[in-house]
Symmetry: C2
Subunit: 291 residues, 2 copies
């Protein structure tokens, strides 16, 4: 097969990103979405849901470091972790690096994504057989409604709010998430782009701030999402990502992306966002040189 191009149309339709591919490795229409994996010429394997890039092998470390280590280093002793979505496995891989973690429930609605990841994306799915990880092929909305276990950290590693992830951007879902968290629990969620999804970000932060005493937004930047800069929401019953963060716990870790300075740096969202979401965001302590 000669080179072909995988095209993603950015929200709004005014920008297109095209990756050169050398092979179409996997293609299947599940009951939930179209799932594809391509071998690209410059970015390793590329996973797409409904023709939107979810991850590439070249840059997935950014997303997975930042969605995971920020909440897991805020919580002083995360033992039980719930992952909603995250079918490629990268979030579970990073969660399981934390020695305190005893049990992870990962709830992926689409078995086709899990099969594709298992076969074609060992870089992210490498911990699928870890005995601490329980994979559930189930609807995350149902799972949190019925959950009896209490989690220290919940990570909502979902795709965009079109298709199967839509109910995950909803107050009913987050009420159930709140209820299945411990008294010092944290939920971090994929929260789209501040350039393309202001209304969605506003809705999400509005929902979270109704339920949780602390609501924040932090940023990360990767190669494969249009606009470069994307966000994670951070909602917490008690713990503050700055005041309760102990940088010493990060010592001895070999990170590709995250480090203690980024725990503070990632929450320094641009001025226009601080203004736009001011009514929902909990003020954070000012940062500076550590005395």
């Amino acid at each position: 097969m000669s080179n072909e191009w995988f095209e993603e149309i950015a929200p709004g339709g005014d920008l297109i990103m095209k990756w050169k591919t050398s092979k179409h490795l996997f293609s299947k229409k599940s009951p939930f979405q179209q799932v594809d994996i391509y071998e690209t010429t410059g970015y390793g394997k590329l996973l797409a849901h409904d023709h939107v890039v979810m991850a590439t092998e070249k840059d997935e470390f950014i997303y997975h470091d930042m969605i995971t280590h920020v909440p897991l280093f805020t919580h002083p002793n995360p033992k039980n972790v719930l992952i909603i979505g995250g079918g490629d496995g990268g979030t579970a891989r990073e969660v399981l690096r934390h020695k305190s973690v005893q049990h992870v429930d990962m709830v992926e609605i689409d078995p086709v994504v899990l099969d594709a990841a298992r076969e074609w994306l060992p870089q992210t799915s490498c911990e699928f057989n870890n005995p601490k990880l329980k994979l559930h092929v189930a609807d995350g909305v149902d799972f949190v409604k019925k959950a009896t276990m209490k989690y220290d950290v919940c990570i909502v590693d979902s795709s965009d709010p079109i298709g199967p992830a839509t109910p995950l951007f909803n107050i009913d879902f987050y009420r159930d998430v709140f209820n299945c968290l411990t008294d010092d629990g944290i939920v971090v969620s994929q929260c789209e782009s501040p350039y393309y999804h202001n209304e969605m970000q506003k809705t999400m932060l509005g929902i979270l701030s109704q339920l949780f005493p602390k609501t924040h937004l932090y940023g990360y930047t990767n190669l494969s999402y249009p606009g470069g800069y994307w966000g994670f929401s951070f909602a917490s019953k008690k713990l503050c990502p700055f005041a309760d963060f102990d940088a010493k716990r990060t010592e001895g870790w070999d990170f590709q992306y995250y480090h203690a300075g980024l725990q503070f740096g990632a929450f320094q969202i641009p001025s226009f966002l601080k203004k736009l979401y001011a009514e929902y965001l909990t003020p954070l302590p000012q940062i500076g040189v550590k005395k």
Copy 2:
């Protein structure tokens, strides 16, 4: 004219970014480069040199805030500022917001860029007639060689090191920049992408660390440069962007992007970059909650 697409091939050739345009407003081949301005459907006017996006009206505030305010708020009293390049005028616009600034020399090699900006990009070129600004249509390399004035801050707002900007990525140039800076002078330079230009970044940081006591790299992220996350080098004779930064000076400013927290946040480059450039980067104080 119906919609057409402006295509930029990312370095390496494995990714293409395409902007939908409604009008080709300006096109001229100067002795230095091909200069184009398009009206896009989603990003305002787009300036391209040799078919590479320099800026769009929608996201130029990010680049111009970050290249300007980081050094100008590090220096306690910047009076004289030198801009090399920066033909669209956005850097001069932000520099001139600093009340301490008395004189700005802006040295742009290509008069076609200045003419195009003056005619089509008032958003960035709005300060071209400011009496504190002196525009020089000249080669930046020659200008710094012959300069007799001493500058507090020099900003090298150049295009990529292909075409006319190539000599700006060179030790001879930076030796002359060093010599035309005051004893507490700072030079900040456009320093490409950590994903596409590691060798170039290494060369630049290597050059700067040979000449300056302090060398740092800080990041920003915009919509129109491939890979999302790009860098500015920060080299300084004496001042530290953390220890010498007084957050109080930023109070009362209305920024679109920059704020005091980002002064610290932007230097929190990813772990893999800290490792890759460790031999060139001056360690910065650890950041944390301000006591």
